[in-house]
Amino acid sequence: MKDIRNILEDRRKKSVKTAVILVSLLLAAAFISLYSGPAKIGLFEPLNTMSRQILYMRLFRIMLAVLVGGGLSVAGVILQGLLRNPLCEPYVLGISSGASVGAVASIVLGAAGTFIGLGILPIWAFAGAAVTFFIVYRTAEVSGRVPMQNLLLTGVIAGALLSSIVIFIVSFSQQETLHSIIWWLLGNLQIFDGGLLFFVAVMVVAGTAAAYIFSNELNAFALGEEEAAHIGVDIERMKMVLFLTASMITGAAVSAAGMIGFVGLIVPHFMRMIVGPDHKILIPSSFLAGGIFLLVCDTAARTLMPPAEIPVGVITAVFGAPFFIYMLRKKSRL
């Protein structure tokens, strides 16, 4: 009995330590990012109207980077936990592609002058993500149950189909908007709309909280679906709730920042190696680490080639791909 108490006490200490480290890293990254950029603003310089506006813009961008990076990581944790496959992320189930179909459609219709307006883009992206999830889920369903292999395969196929639909819409849209859609799909964290930021914040925080609340169920899924059912988890319903949570977070992230790859794949993977597989610790620490990762990438994206910007999706890929290969090799050696 004493041993178990010691183990729990150690775990608590370890998670407190991890939280302190991650929060300090996040604050440090945010502070450095706030004072980096193509427009020079000295730390001790008195602020004028213009520099105050520029700092506001950076602050909003920092918040979006943290929310999107954290959100995508949590969505990755949920999908990896449910599918028991560390290579899963919103892309695998076609949720990101679904969100982007919704977003691209709204850009094209907006360019036609009929549907533009604030709030349209995130609604379309979320609808695209949710509808995609629903179709994937229903297609994969066999006599009331949804086997994981079916879900995975259906998701991959839906993702491929939806990507083709994006390309179809793009190639039949007006020339002027075509270029921008391609750029948009590479991701961008500049935010001009406080309402949109608020929307993303609510969705991502709510989704992360939901995932945290169900972390015991996610832990049970790690044992296998049948084992989880034996422990008393209503697996089909839990899967529905958690996949919807993941698509809600993904839809919000894609609507505000476009498709940013690798975050949902690498961050949970890395954190699992550091804090272990317990979702009670993994979910909050992945959120923080994802925020730090995307914030660092975006700071690089907007400062490396002034006055131009690099699409942030390119940066995450440049940092992420070699890191992922390194982790994969390291893991296979063990």
Partner: protein
């Protein structure tokens, strides 16, 4: 000698249908070359255009050979054109394919006004409209000169700083090497994005605030709200001079800014008009 006569006869016979006035068949697979061909009086010879060709308005009734980015090569071959007008980069593959099929392709890719003048002359030469081409180029040069005569007098410190936004999400600006940049300078403005060093790139939003342009031109329709509202409503952009003065415009015909054809002159005039209102 006999051989030479036969050869020249063969060459003449082969070339004759192509150069007989009125019977030459032209397929144009970019909106800009369609405009150039029509300005040279070749509208009657156009056997096919793309779905994006919409100027002059009467060309929309022509046979369609696909979109700009995806021309239908089979259909082009079936139309038996004597000449296909195309552009460089984006259509390089299609141009290559058509050349292999034995079609005569004139591919133009002007980067600035001098390049555009050369392209017009090249198309004129290939289609037997040399006189018309040099006339058109002469007219365009004279129009540009008359605008320049007015703007040259303006001291650099009095010229408006201009931010030309190609697209809003992400924000994309036109840098040096683009027609837009050249047009801004011809119209008497100073392009704040010239130092990107690339014709088009994603531009830093905070630098637009720092560089504080006097005029903002949108290369797209703001849609729904006014141009000034859509730009001024962005986080952090409310204090920009152009926003405060209400000098944000999205009312210039986009095709006169982006299509490298004769109507670019109208684009320069429209810019000049917005800069010195």
């Amino acid at each position: 000698m006999k051989k030479l006569i036969l050869t020249s006869l063969a060459v003449f016979l082969a070339a004759a249908p192509a150069y007989a006035a009125g019977t030459m068949r032209i397929v144009s697979i970019t909106p800009s070359t369609t405009e150039i061909a029509c300005a040279l009086g070749l509208e009657g010879n156009l056997a096919g255009v793309t779905t994006l060709c919409d100027y002059p308005p009467s060309v929309t009734k022509k046979e369609k050979v696909g979109t700009f980015s995806d021309p239908n090569i089979e259909k082009i071959v079936m139309l038996k054109p004597d000449i296909v007008l195309a552009t460089g980069l984006e259509q390089a593959q299609a141009v290559e394919k058509m050349k292999r099929l034995g079609l005569k392709v004139i591919s133009v890719e002007p980067k600035d006004f001098e390049g555009l003048f050369r392209s017009i002359e090249e198309i004129g030469r290939a289609c037997g409209k040399e006189k018309e081409a040099s006339g058109l180029v002469g007219d365009m040069r004279r129009s540009l000169d008359s605008i320049r005569k007015n703007t040259d007098r303006i001291d650099a410190s009095l010229r408006p700083k201009v931010y030309f936004e190609i697209w809003s999400d992400p924000i994309m600006a036109a840098g040096k090497g683009s027609f837009i940049s050249e047009m801004i300078s011809l119209a008497g403005g100073i392009n704040i994005a010239d130092d990107t060093g690339r014709p088009f790139s994603q531009f830093s939003a905070e630098l637009v605030v720092e560089r504080d342009p006097d005029v903002i031109i949108l290369g797209y329709m703001a849609g729904g709200v006014s141009a000034a509202q859509s730009v001024g409503g962005r986080l952090g952009w409310g204090g920009i001079k152009a926003v405060k003065a209400g000098r944000v415009y999205d009312d210039i015909d986009i095709d006169t800014l982006f299509r490298p054809g004769p109507r670019l002159i109208d684009g320069v005039r429209a810019l000049n008009d917005r800069f010195y209102k």
